[in-house]
Symmetry: C2
Subunit: 361 residues, 2 copies
Amino acid sequence: MYVVIPAGGSGTRLWPLSRAAYPKFLHPLTGDSRTLIQSTIDRLASLAPPERTFVVTGGAHVAAIARQLPDLPAANILVEPSPRDSAAAIGLAAAIIARRDPGAIMGSFHADHLVRDEELFRETVRLAERAAREGYLMTIGIAPTAPETGYGYIRWGEALAVAGTFLVQQFKEKPSRPVAEGWLAEGGYLWNSGMFVWRCDALLDELARQQPELHAGLVAIAAAWDTPGGEEALAAIWPTLPKVPIDIAVMEGAATVGRVGTVPGHFGWNDIGDWHTIGEVLGQGRGGNVVLGGDTARHLAVDTDNVLIVPSGERIIATLGVRDIVIVDTPDAVLVCARERAQDVKKLVDLLKEQGRSPHL
Amino acid sequence: MYVVIPAGGSGTRLWPLSRAAYPKFLHPLTGDSRTLIQSTIDRLASLAPPERTFVVTGGAHVAAIARQLPDLPAANILVEPSPRDSAAAIGLAAAIIARRDPGAIMGSFHADHLVRDEELFRETVRLAERAAREGYLMTIGIAPTAPETGYGYIRWGEALAVAGTFLVQQFKEKPSRPVAEGWLAEGGYLWNSGMFVWRCDALLDELARQQPELHAGLVAIAAAWDTPGGEEALAAIWPTLPKVPIDIAVMEGAATVGRVGTVPGHFGWNDIGDWHTIGEVLGQGRGGNVVLGGDTARHLAVDTDNVLIVPSGERIIATLGVRDIVIVDTPDAVLVCARERAQDVKKLVDLLKEQGRSPHL
């Protein structure tokens, strides 16, 4: 199969480490020295060799990605001239792959997810691949472990022919807490991880049906891609493409006509969305204090509990009489945030934008 | 009169800004650009001209003091070869001044105190000066405004001949909270500010009576001071001097024989002892967030209350969902501390010492 990594978004909830110019997938955030995008590629390496692996990203991140992923062929970094959301990004990869290998299976995986049991993850993807061969647009669902309100949900239904795969009845928007609790009690719901597996031609067929303009543009770009006029075609057509997320452009509509399947995943998944989550992952939910990178000498603590420290350089962070906070040190900004408010770090970034303080964004 | 400023101590409760190599009196901490020692000298300038003003300090701080106080004659910075506590430091200045001007009145004032009403402060000192002429060792008492447990207390008694001055009955150690509350209710107690005014010969007489060894050493150093052998005498004798605070060496014993007087001060006094206190002083007790130095653009705040920010360089400090804390940013360390625990910052410094991390001390 082919692997596609759409690497976009600035990860504003992980400010001040994650910046527009150096977003979260370029940082090591899971306790070892590998960055999120390196870990993502590592995890998928046995499913697709480098020449069948693609990263779709903005021009600002190409150099960093090229250095972090030295085995990835340079031509496999697809550079978006401007951000046009995920349907265009993922669709571009699908159209280019389909032009070279029409019946190819492709999986799309975010650059910033964490997976605990990597072997089980790959088995899940292989199961999705088998159902994708039958023409289904497959999504990796995540068996929910809590009534999360930060994720979309998938309602799954009857079993498909490939054992362990199921038809998707409906995609659900992020729910309120009581609704999420109801779904968890009721069963039959999965978190929408945004990881997909499909035959490129099946995706393009659905794109043609639901998003004919987007489809036509992507096919035209792909037709010119390996020719001398490729760059020109991309520059001319890309800015005209509809800006829409893949879920809305394709998946929701495909589900209503019975073309979407899912594999419930039990491999331990996290989208590394905010600092509190990173603290939970690093501390394995045991509480206590955690230092990202593991250099506990960076943290000088007296009467301190459940604090996540993200150090920078050689500076030390000292805490006294505090608990349940996150402290993120960077060369030009320090964040001190209540863990329960980690979802709102975006508000600080919004404030910086309002104040026009772009060096800190 | 003469003014003497013993400038010692590293101010560990104001770590990480205050360091052994650059203690608190060298920093601006009261909201304007003047450092604590500069404000101290400013406040006393109309009581004594530069040539009658002395600073006693360690060799490590002489250069910084010389630069911060350009009008102070270089010879008036008395350099202790090693720390021998306040009786030796203050006594050295008294012995040197007495040798030149035996009946001189001298006032000793810490380098790191804050005074709200400076004119009232000077009037208080002038009152003390008048009683000191009568031979009393005068101390500036502070009319207590709260049952503080961090200060020593003075029990005052009958009025002296100079109106507004009183005999000191007894010095009291730092009390427990209930004891302090009792004293406040009872009345008749003042905080011991550690500010003294006396005739140099009266102090030396008491030193001779209570601390003959210290007295003999200081007199010998002073006798050699303005001679070619001065430096040698200091180097030889200083290390042999008893290491004892002036309160214990002289004041407590002098009080028991009726030689200590006090002027109750109502000028608004603060010893700038810890970060919480600085936050109170800067915020004028009104709560809310305060940025030391006043550059509020350094603090990016969402849902933040009663936070003191001490910024460093161009870095910004962002806070979200936190309250009642102090954040101190320095080039090599960041402190995040509960305001109610500000007195315990010393514990972090102790930890650094234990760990042998002297670059951060």
